[in-house]
Symmetry: C2
Subunit: 190 residues, 2 copies
Amino acid sequence: MRHRREDVVARALQVLDDHGLADLTMRRLGTELGIQPSALYHHFPSKQVLLAAVADEILERGPRSSSEVLSDEPWEGRARAACHTLRDACLAWTDGAEVVATARAFGLGARAPYDELVGVLVTGGVDVDLAGSAARTLLHFVLGHATDEQTHRQAGSVGAIDTDPATDFTADFATGVDLVLAGLQARVRR
Amino acid sequence: MRHRREDVVARALQVLDDHGLADLTMRRLGTELGIQPSALYHHFPSKQVLLAAVADEILERGPRSSSEVLSDEPWEGRARAACHTLRDACLAWTDGAEVVATARAFGLGARAPYDELVGVLVTGGVDVDLAGSAARTLLHFVLGHATDEQTHRQAGSVGAIDTDPATDFTADFATGVDLVLAGLQARVRR
DNA sequence: ACCTGAACACCGTTCAAGT
DNA sequence: ACCTGAACACCGTTCAAGT
């Protein structure tokens, strides 16, 4: 019944995917691991920190099928690919987007996507301050959109909200990302 | 000790502003009104619905000081003003942005800003599908940015996160909104 | 290093009953 | 129409103690 920190994170991710964020409680996770909930506090100082570790695990595992990104692409294409990869990684797990968004909001993890986006933009010649603002704008959109998509899809299966079946989330997502990138291109070209 | 629905919403908004979203519990609100928590379920079917009513109240009351918006401005200016007004309305209350964002996420209210943005864009000649995508992109950014700002400001006063005092949230916000609007303009001009 | 067991201080929600 | 009182089924976290 003895576990390491990484075992706990892996099990938490499994509980998340099988039952959703609302059911990922310290008591439930303890039961799932065959230990008392209080034992979790040997591995993590709080539930927030545990969730941040789950968010980082989601980002490290990445999307189920990763699309190739050519390193000789222009920065717009690479930034677009980074956004779609982040979305796919979040959508691969139940409530994945909300977990990543929450970790980011508390400043406890999930820093990799921001760093990657800023890196792509700065390497492409975008001013570092503007690159930061653009990266944050893109991340607000990506995580907000993906969270909405997962919320609405679940609500449909429970029957709480009327979810329009005709909504093409992927096309709508692409439009939003391209809007921000087009604005950035316009600004970079003076 | 008898209250109407609007009394309950007003008191909830006061508890929110004085103590934050974490302390806005059904039990706390009941105590504040001098009634049992169960009595709140006479006015609202759930806490989620109560919070949606609080979100709508925040939007109706608007920002503390409203900046003039000339109706003969071009659509870019009117959309920009709508975004800044929404941000100011949220920032006027403790955790206001999170309450509005949550209500929107659950589809239970806070529809006015979306309707207003779509209206401004469509009146300006933007295709209705594109106007919808752009409005949702702007709202993800506005509410995400404002939520972050309020979270980081509070974290600073509690000491949980290192909040950079040099961060100019208002300038960063304006940059993000203008990025999306510039992308939309580029797209509309073919 | 990792865990138990018990406790503390809470939650949202339901429901029969009262006025 | 609006509220009480009691209960149900939970939470996150702390802490002394065990191996």
